[in-house]
Amino acid sequence: MNAEERYTPLNWPDHPETQTLEGKNKFLGFWLFLAGETVLFASLFATYLALKDSVPDSSHPLAKDLFNLPLVFAMTMILLTSSITSVYAIYHMRNYHFKKMQSWFVITVLLGAGFLALEIYEFTHYVHEYHFTFGSSAFSSAYYTLVGTHGAHVTFGLCWIIALLVRNAKRGLNLYNAPKYYVASLYWHFIDVVWVFIFTVVYLIGKVG
């Protein structure tokens, strides 16, 4: 099957993302990458848990002093919603509705950008109000590295999806770029998986003490 062929909704394959060998390889390769990322983030969580509340003296804020649950709740809702919007996008991809897929990805990007904006606000708030910077203490270094790495992944994901949207605007959907969209949405879901653990382990457990 030629990857550049033009399709209609009728003869578009059921699982376009794995119709080609390239697609099958990308699908498998990406899941393997996610397994590696699981261990990567687990290492960051382990570091955070080992260094949680580890500060040089009592003038430094601890987890329960810092974290603002309403803000984190809003961020969680936004990111979770962006996950379902990307599911919608892939649903339209499977049905060969290119424009609808693009629209749902645009919504995903906007929600993701909203999440990032709130996170940047949160970090600047910590720096200005509590002098809680990357170099303040071991606890702060561990916090910013864990949550910051997640934020960097969100940023990369947004750039990735935007690049796909721009790149394919004139090309439409075909078996060459279907795997690209599928893999990008897997990445986006994984970022939400990590966030579920971040809001639970860092913020909720932080507040509880």
Binding site: W31, L32, A35, F45, A46, A50, L80, Y91, T200, V208
Partner: protein
């Protein structure tokens, strides 16, 4: 090759297409229900911590359990891990989860300086 002619000639194509559309739509409904459940679990976790009524010994395992359930939903529904063709990917994911668990366990038990 003329796509349109082929479609007109092949009524099976239309039937399969309709079947697939219906199946997709049903799957999408399942996804939305999953999403609603995930929102619910998140709200429960936040409320459990927010009220401050529960003891630490209960809350921490409880919200961790909620997180694991939510991640299960994300993996098995949003990321289609429940569909066929995902056996090897899930084998590697679970291997990673085992290593991840051992790492975190080590860091919270045998680091005490």
């Amino acid at each position: 090759m003329n796509m349109e002619n082929e479609q007109a000639k092949n009524p099976n194509l239309r039937a399969h297409h309709d079947y697939r559309r219906k199946k997709s739509a049903k799957e999408m409904q399942v996804q939305v229900i999953t999403f609603a459940l995930m929102i619910f679990l998140t709200i429960v976790a936040f409320i459990a911590v927010g009220t401050g009524d529960f003891s630490v010994k209960f809350i921490i395992p409880f919200i961790l359990l909620l997180a694991v359930i939510q991640v299960g939903f994300q993996l098995y529904y949003f990321m289609h891990a429940s569909q066929k063709g995902h056996e090897l990917p899930m084998f590697f994911m679970y291997s990673a989860v085992i290593i991840a668990f051992v790492t975190v366990l080590a860091f919270v038990t045998i680091i005490w300086w």
